[in-house]
Subunit: 225 residues, 2 copies
């Protein structure tokens, strides 16, 4: 079964997944790199990094993934749609290595990059985008790559099977919140928390079998699917 | 040295320390008891409860405390000021056992309860209330008992030395937020996180020695005071 997954989405204590204002020079606004320092310290990011619990979680990012969906605000700074030469933040070889669907109200032709990443631009609602990405994933899982607004949209639509968040012990005060409009989210998920020696807390939301579409008769203790 | 401490303040993932609307029948609004179930399962609350990490944190609540300050919204439901017979939620013997200062714009005479609790009603800014409570604490520490608005006010005023929060894995969606207006709070504190087997995460904010009033020359590694 192909799952829909979120990985390594870092938020502040007050629930912001990015600061403000976002720009070419400051993709995460006033948050700078503070939400992601935990990741830079892992082997996932840097071969000389730590192989502990932060790394173990970070490494799940690509395993079994056949496609990504991201929001327009992840693909570029505000206004990138006006620059026909913009090909994303990541240079010639982006770190996705799969078909990658960028949700935007202003689609453009596909961009074939090195290393297996092809950017497709879609103006579509979450369920339609997911069906398209799932088809492209060839039986593997689909990652919802963020930003927070896109993850929120997919959660609201009931489309996320597994979500890994990283709570960083800073208070950003402003930016884009993840949690708005998600009252009661935990009811459909088994939620686990584990703190790392570095001070971040990994939260995993694993969808209850009973909360899956079309599987409401299945006992919740039905095991891993 | 007498410290100003916060203990066992439970918040949802989205940072609400109480739901809404608050009333006589529902002191925490739609949150019900969900923010505090972790505590009910500890020996601190119930002699047959667990003695693990949740209990260890919970037990700190009263140790070394000589006075409490609480907000009007902790003392009673909206409108309690209009009821001259209201003596708090806690019956004849409240669990404070010290002088307890209730911040309200409508003070009333002291209430001497059983078990060592005396309620004093103060219309005062945080620093003034703290000086009053510290005097009454006889050299012991002062607990800021909540709710979230009062804790926020004392944090904003730079008056909290130690804060223990408990993040409960639920998304409340609405209520009273703790974090508003506290951007950059972590800069004055050493922050630690530890998750418990029950699924909550204990956060401790320990004020850096260098961030204490009048001690800015003191090295941050100056040790426990």
């Amino acid at each position: 079964m192909s799952l829909t997954r979120v990985h390594n989405l870092s938020i502040s204590l007050d629930g912001f997944a990015t600061g403000e204002p976002q720009s070419l020079d400051a993709p995460f606004g006033h948050a700078g790199q503070r939400l992601h320092e935990w990741m830079f310290a892992t082997r996932f990011w840097d071969a000389s990094g730590s192989a502990g619990v932060d790394d173990v979680f970070a490494q799940r990012h690509g395993v079994g993934i056949g496609a990504e969906i991201m929001g327009a605000n992840k693909f570029g700074p505000p206004g990138w749609q006006d620059d026909p030469g913009w090909t994303g933040w990541w240079g010639a070889e982006p770190p996705f290595h799969t078909p990658t669907f960028v949700l935007t109200h202003r689609p453009r032709p596909d961009l074939v990059m090195e290393g297996g990443t092809t950017f497709h631009f879609l103006d579509a609602a979450p369920a339609v985008a997911l069906a398209t990405a799932r088809e492209a994933a060839g039986g593997q899982d689909v990652r919802i790559g963020g930003g927070p607004t896109v993850v929120q949209d997919f959660l609201t639509a009931g489309l996320i099977d597994l979500m890994h968040l990283v709570v960083v012990p800073i208070v950003l005060g402003r930016g884009v919140r993840l949690w708005d409009g998600l009252e009661g989210l935990e009811q459909g998920y088994d939620v686990e928390a584990v703190s790392s020696p570095r001070g971040v807390t990994h939260l995993t939301f694993t969808r209850k079998a009973s909360a899956r579409d079309g599987q409401s008769d299945r006992p919740a203790q039905g095991g891993v699917s």
